[in-house]
Symmetry: C2
Subunit: 491 residues, 2 copies
């Protein structure tokens, strides 16, 4: 690496180390930290993030960056470093430092408020905090708009470069046009749900660890914990955490949360460790990350060939739930499509409609068309329109997701993009190797290797589009996803 | 607070926030972090501690400190701030910054090496790392010695101001003179051990949570986890963690680890929260901290009056272990003295002899009289001499404690001092209120209130000796401890 880049790296790893610390607080706050810690911990996080801000946005970074830009023939990695840092600058340079710290403090506290509001089904408890978060997010976005740009587009672009409303509006329009009628058809001839089959939590915990290992999660470099809303959190390639959730009377929920989060985590574990504590560390865009979790959850985790070699051992590990259920019944259950209330519990077919609701609501919140006060009502109306269900409580409605409490506006669309990217990669993978045969042999390694080689190892070196082009030979193409859903659920 | 102190506080809370982050990494590393994380996490910690070093030891701190020292009529708290910072300066100002960071990295890694060596009973695996830690600790201490001072005294003084070898040598000589013969007598008429009584870990977990709550640990401001070597870790007054350890065939071990660590944690939870993120936050000296954990463990936790109202519910919660054991048998068991191998499992009588061994070995390691290679043999010889037992493995011998892997030389004596301070405080408390009667009524609140009022709430505002003088009316006096042991075990 060139000397100027080495200096920049040495300088920026201080910011990266603070990022790792904040990542640990995030994990801990959601899995273990006591209830009353948040007030003081929020102060700590505000100070740490102000430190990080100072390092990232300070004169030294600018000077070192300028020196790096003078270098001739930068390597691919060096160019990527410049690209990533420029995006961070763009993200932060217009935000007043104090506001930035205040926002960190606000979202740390908001998380606790949201949790309590969700527990108590009390939207009014969360509304004032949500209003503050929305106001600050809108303010930040407004400070950053380029000529003629809508504030919401700024946030969309943060998550997935270039995927702003001019791309997403037609993408979701297509979903609405193709998937809502497809769901109506499915709803006319519903596949019956299996009767409730419960399993003690301890047995679920044990089998989910086995399952995570089976698909390729490395416990020597990771851990598993529990939370309300599953997530994964990478400190670095050698410490990646899965937070999952088990329900006694719904063991499938835990299984697919675990597979989904393991997908995120395998991605992080397979990034080149040389990128740890550099701007290239961590996975690529939100959508790319989601594509990997959905790849494991849906493309792999719902396939008959995946369960064939595994099902008997699951029956043995959780007999209370599965000994009376045949493999065929289980497969029918996990591939059943049915409109439901909760996004994280949604099936493949209806998932994108849950996202559609959030996308439209976020657009309206940002344009001012909708107020925070009106949000629950608007939420319920859209669920009625697209999914033909109405949440009986806000807990199962507008309060279900963690995202808004952490100020993550513009993130939801990447779930839908992620599904589409997963479908595109899977179509390509199937052309190159006998995936079903490998899965039937209980061999998950070729899939993991394929993803490492083409996607994971690159960290942030290549953009999502670059990776798609190099892996599949074409740019992002949502048609694979539409075809996949129509083929699977149109039968 | 005066303006100069406010500026100093604003500056130093950056260092305090980094300290909280490192506290979380410490907790996490010992309870959850995956095995292979340590290499990269050590880098992160090295960077964070270098940041902290820069803030603490930088020009800004010195300038602000000088301004504060010009202030007239500082308050008691302001004076304490100056005292605490001067002690930190004294501790750090002569250590080269790079060495300091290297030491952090070394001890983070060493912790993992020690754990593995202990698991495998392989001292040779740990020895080279221990040598490095010893060399660096000795180097740091040598850089800091004042005229004629021994390096080991520097470290003793870090833990407990003023308690250097000239005080500790006679203290331990007295212990050796009075306690070794007392133990010999006890060994002549041993109280028989109860037969093994096992209890499933889940039931132990559940009851230990109940127990921690019973004695006053607040789970709204704390959490409990598991580790090899129990410890407690305070992020701030509203987030204090207990890491305990359960053995299926020795439920008493878990009980007393929990009570001990809860003692540390109640201390931290009762400090004035206004001191969070200031130099006055956190408990006082090591010995004072140990006095609080031993107070709960021994003075309270082994009393008949403590168990009378509690024992039946423990029998119900862990019937496998206790339904066939009467309260009298249980009390005899937990107050039995018997020479054993492992410090953390030691009874009140032999505990100080375990410390005596470590004190003498540390002195010899620092003077060069003893090499790291000779350490296991010397360890075993001293156990033979004082306790009349010989460890069959290094796992139960020289590898049992975590302290040396974290570079904590000079810490062990504070355990013995802590016991002595606990006995002194208890003698005073008994004169002021009917402790046994309160305990029999299941009312732990008066004890907790007494300790908050006299000790806990002060954080680092007052020194240990000041607190002892103000609480008990006299300076440190180890005679209470000797009397207590002779009275209890001499019968």
């Amino acid at each position: 690496m060139k000397e100027s880049f080495e200096k920049l790296q040495k300088h920026l790893e201080r910011s990266a180390a603070l990022g790792v610390a904040m990542g640990l607080f995030y994990w801990d706050g959601d899995t273990l930290a006591p209830k009353e810690a948040s007030e003081y911990t929020a102060k700590v996080l505000a100070i740490l993030s102000a430190e990080q801000f100072d390092i990232m946005m300070g004169e030294t970074t600018r000077e070192l960056l300028a020196a790096c830009e003078q270098e001739e023939k930068p390597s691919e990695e060096e160019e990527a470093i410049l690209r990533v840092i420029h995006r961070q600058f763009e993200n932060l340079e217009k935000i007043p430092k104090d506001d930035f710290a205040r926002f960190q403090e606000l979202t740390t506290k908001a998380h606790v408020v949201w949790r309590e509001a969700k527990e108590k089904n009390d939207y009014a408890l969360f509304a004032p905090t949500l209003q503050e978060i929305l106001d600050m997010s809108r303010k930040f976005a407004s400070l950053r708009v380029k000529e003629g740009q809508a504030p919401y587009d700024v946030l969309l672009n943060d998550c997935e470069e270039g995927f702003t409303m001019d791309i997403l509006d037609p993408f979701f329009a297509k979903m609405k046009e193709e998937i809502v009628p497809l769901l109506r058809k499915v709803q006319e001839n519903p596949v019956p749900k299996l009767p409730v089959h419960s399993c003690p939590l301890d047995k679920q915990r044990a089998f989910n660890c086995t399952l995570a290992t089976y698909i390729g999660f490395d416990f020597n470099r990771g851990a598993i914990g529990e939370t309300e809303h599953p997530f994964s959190d990478a400190l670095h390639t050698h410490d990646v955490r899965i937070a999952t959730h088990y329900y006694e009377d719904n063991p499938e929920s835990g299984l697919f949360s675990t597979i989904h989060e393991a997908g995120h985590s395998i991605y992080e574990q397979q990034i080149n460790p040389a990128y740890n504590l550099t701007p290239l560390g961590g996975g690529g865009s939100c959508a790319l990350h989601e594509s990997q979790s959905r790849f494991y959850e849906n493309m792999i985790g719902r396939r008959p060939s995946f369960w064939k070699p595994l099902y008997a051992s699951m029956q043995e590990a959780m007999p209370e739930a599965f000994e009376k259920i045949s493999l065929e019944e289980f497969l029918r259950e996990i591939n059943r499509a049915e409109a439901s209330l909760v996004r994280t519990e949604a099936d493949e077919l209806t998932y994108s409609l849950h996202i559609l609701v959030r996308y439209e609501l976020e657009k309206q919140l940002f344009s001012g068309e909708l107020t925070v006060e009106q949000l629950p009502e608007a939420w319920n109306a859209k669920y009625k329109e697209y999914l033909d269900v109405v949440p009986p409580t806000d807990t199962e409605g507008v309060l279900q997701d963690v995202h808004w409490s952490s100020g993550s506006f513009g993130y939801f669309p990447s779930y839908a993009l992620g599904s589409a990217i997963a479908a595109q990669i899977f179509a390509c993978m199937q052309k190159q190797m006998p995936v079903d045969q490998q899965l039937e042999e209980g061999n998950l390694q070729p899939v993991k290797d394929f993803l490492r080689e083409h996607i994971h190892r690159w960290g942030k070196v290549k953009t999502t589009r670059q990776l798609l082009l190099e892996t599949t030979g074409e740019d992002f193409n949502p048609q694979y996803y539409i075809d996949y859903l129509k083929e699977k659920f149109g039968r």
